[in-house]
C-alpha cells in the first residue's frame, strides 16, 4: 500500500450509470503520483467512461449520472473534483486528456498548441511562444515541426498529430494526464515514440492509460488494472 503523501488520485465507491444501468460498480482506487496506471479490459466495458469521470467530461452526455467520491491532490490538499464550488475549467486545465483518434483543431500547428492558453485568457505573446516551444519539445515534436509552425496541423502524420495533441495538453502543465488508447490508431513505430514520450513525462505527470495492448502496458505501466463486468481489479 503506497503512503498517503504519494497518492495523487483517490477514488472512493465510484458508481456510474447510463440510462439507470450501472456501467461502473463501486470502484475504489488509489493512484500514486508520477506513475503510469494502465486500465485494460474488453471493449465496451466503460474504460473511456472511467477516464471521463476524472475530468468530468461525461457531464455533456445525456442520461448519465454518477455516485461516489473522486479526490485529486493539487498541491498539498486533496480536492473533491465534484464539489459544486470547484470550477470544471480549472479541473480540466490540471487534468489533461488525449483521445484515441488524434483531434487537432482546424488551425495551424502553433495555434493548436497555443489554443489552451487562449482559452485560459493568457495573452502574453512572448511567454506564449516560449511555452508552445517547450510543450513541443517535451512531446518530441519540436524538431519535426519547428520550420513549419504555421502549417495546418491536419497535414501532419497520424503519429505527429497525436504528439501534437499531447503537446496541446502539456502546454497548461497538467498534473494528471488521461490517455484513451493513444496509440491504437498509429503504426508500431509511431506508437513506440509515444510510449517513450510517456515514460519521459512520468517525472511531471500522473498518467492513466487505457490500452488494448497488453505488451504495451507491460512495457510502460507501473501498475495494471482490468475493468470487466463493471468492476476494477488490480492485476499487478
Amino acid at each position: 500500500m503506497p503512503m498517503t503523501e504519494n497518492i495523487k488520485i483517490n477514488i472512493k465507491n465510484l458508481w456510474f450509470y447510463y440510462n439507470d444501468h450501472p456501467i461502473l460498480e463501486d470502484i475504489s482506487l488509489e493512484i500514486p503520483q508520477n506513475t503510469i496506471t494502465a486500465v485494460t479490459g474488453p471493449s465496451g466495458q466503460g474504460k473511456s467512461t472511467f477516464l471521463m469521470t476524472l475530468n468530468r467530461l461525461w457531464e455533456s452526455i445525456e442520461e448519465t449520472r454518477i455516485k461516489g467520491h473522486i479526490e485529486i491532490r493539487f498541491g498539498s490538499d486533496f480536492q473533491n473534483i465534484y464539489d459544486k464550488r470547484y470550477n470544471v475549467s480549472d479541473l480540466r486545465r490540471q487534468v489533461g486528456m488525449v483521445f484515441q483518434v488524434p483531434n487537432p483543431l482546424p488551425m495551424s500547428i502553433y495555434n493548436n498548441i497555443a489554443f489552451p492558453l487562449k482559452l485560459k485568457g493568457e495573452n502574453n505573446k512572448t511567454l506564449g511562444s516560449f511555452r508552445v516551444e517547450d510543450a513541443l519539445k517535451r512531446s518530441f515534436l519540436w524538431d519535426e515541426v519547428k520550420d513549419r509552425l504555421n502549417e495546418d496541423a491536419r497535414a501532419l502524420s497520424g503519429g505527429q498529430q497525436q504528439r501534437l495533441c499531447i503537446a496541446r495538453a502539456l502546454v497548461l502543465n497538467p498534473q494528471v494526464l488521461l490517455l484513451d488508447e493513444p496509440t491504437s490508431s498509429l503504426d508500431d513505430k509511431s506508437g513506440r515514440v509515444i510510449e517513450d514520450l510517456l515514460l519521459e513525462l512520468k517525472k511531471d505527470c500522473t498518467m492513466i492509460l487505457v490500452s488494448h495492448y497488453l505488451d504495451q502496458v507491460k512495457r510502460i505501466a507501473d501498475s495494471g488494472m482490468v475493468l470487466s463486468d463493471r468492476q476494477m481489479k488490480q492485476q499487478w
Partner: protein, 287 residues
C-alpha cells in the same frame, strides 16, 4: 455500361434539365408579359417612382422599399432569437430538452401563414397601436414582427443542423482543454457552421420577401413611400395579390409582372451572392 444504366442516367438528366428549365422559363414568361411596359422605356422610372394610377404614374418604388424594409427587419428581429434558440437546442441542450423544443419548432413550419396573419390582426396590431399611440397599428413593424416568427423555424432548423455537423472530436478537444461553452461556440462551432447558417439566413430572407399573406393582412397596404417603421406599407407580393383581385387588363395589371421580375431577381441575387462568398472563403482557407 448497360442499357438500363443509360436509361436511368438520361431520365435523371432530363429531370434536372426540366426543373432548371422551368425556373428559367418562368423568368422568360414574366419578361414577355412585362414587355409592353419595358418597351416604353420606363423600367427604371417604374422601379423607383411613386404609384398614382390616377395621374398615370405606375411606379413600384413604395412597394420595393416596403418589401425590403419588412423583410430586412424581420430578418434582424429573427436572427438573434433564432441564434439563441438554436444554441440552446444544439449546444446547451439541458436534460435533453433541446430534442423536444426542436420537435415543437419543426411543427411550427406546418402552421399556415393565415394563422400568423390572424394572430397579427387580433393581437399584435392592437398591441403596437396601444404601445406607440401612432396610426392604426397596421405597419411595417407589425408585419416584420409577425414575419420574423414565420421565418424563425427555418432559420433555427438550419442553424441546429449546421451545429450538429460540427465534428464531435473538435468539441471534445475544447471541452477537455477547459474551454467554456461560449469559447466552444466561437472557436469551434461558428467556424465550422457559418456556411450552413448563411444558407439558412438567405432562405429565411427569401421566405420573408416571398410571403404574401402576412404583409397583406397586417402591413396596411398603403401605396405611399413609408417614412418610419410605424407607417403602413405595401409589399410587392401583396401588391400583386391586390391588383389581381381587382383587375385583369390595364397598365396596373401589367406592372405586376414587373413586380414579379423584381422579386425573382432579388432572390436569385441573394443566392448567387451566397455561393460567391462560399467560393471566396474556400480559396482563403486553402491557401
Amino acid at each position: 455500361m448497360d442499357v438500363k444504366e443509360t436509361i436511368f442516367k438520361s431520365v435523371f438528366f432530363a429531370a434536372s434539365i426540366l426543373s432548371a428549365g422551368i425556373t428559367l422559363f418562368i423568368l422568360g414568361f414574366m419578361i414577355v408579359l412585362a414587355l409592353p411596359i419595358l418597351k416604353q422605356g420606363l423600367f427604371f422610372d417604374m422601379l423607383t417612382g411613386p404609384w398614382a394610377p390616377d395621374h398615370g404614374l405606375f411606379g413600384l418604388g413604395p412597394m420595393i422599399i416596403g418589401t425590403i424594409c419588412i423583410a430586412l427587419m424581420a430578418l434582424v428581429i429573427s436572427f438573434p432569437v433564432s441564434l439563441g434558440c438554436s444554441f440552446f437546442i444544439g449546444i446547451l441542450n439541458p436534460r435533453g430538452l433541446g430534442k423536444w423544443l426542436k420537435k415543437i419548432i419543426e411543427s411550427m413550419t406546418a402552421v399556415p401563414t393565415v394563422i400568423y396573419g390572424f394572430v397579427g390582426i387580433f393581437f399584435l396590431v392592437p398591441l403596437v397601436r396601444e404601445l406607440f399611440l401612432k396610426g392604426s397599428g397596421m405597419c411595417i413593424l407589425s408585419a416584420a414582427i409577425m414575419l420574423s416568427i414565420l421565418i424563425s423555424p427555418t432559420m433555427i432548423l438550419f442553424f441546429v443542423q449546421s451545429f450538429s455537423m460540427v465534428p464531435q472530436n473538435d468539441l471534445n478537444a475544447v471541452d477537455a482543454l477547459g474551454g467554456n461553452t461560449a469559447q466552444k461556440f466561437f472557436y469551434v462551432v461558428l467556424p465550422h457552421s457559418w456556411k450552413g447558417m448563411l444558407t439558412g439566413i438567405i432562405l429565411s430572407f427569401g421566405r420573408a420577401m416571398g410571403d404574401t399573406l402576412i404583409a397583406l393582412m397586417i402591413s396596411g397596404n398603403s401605396v405611399a413611400f413609408p417614412g418610419s417603421v410605424l407607417d403602413s406599407a405595401r409589399t410587392l407580393t401583396a401588391h400583386i395579390a391586390l391588383i389581381i383581385a381587382a383587375d385583369f387588363d390595364s397598365i396596373e395589371f401589367k406592372t405586376i409582372f414587373l413586380s414579379s421580375i423584381f422579386l425573382y431577381i432579388m432572390t436569385s441575387f441573394g443566392i448567387i451572392m451566397s455561393r460567391f462568398s462560399f467560393k471566396k472563403r474556400k480559396t482563403i482557407n486553402e491557401t
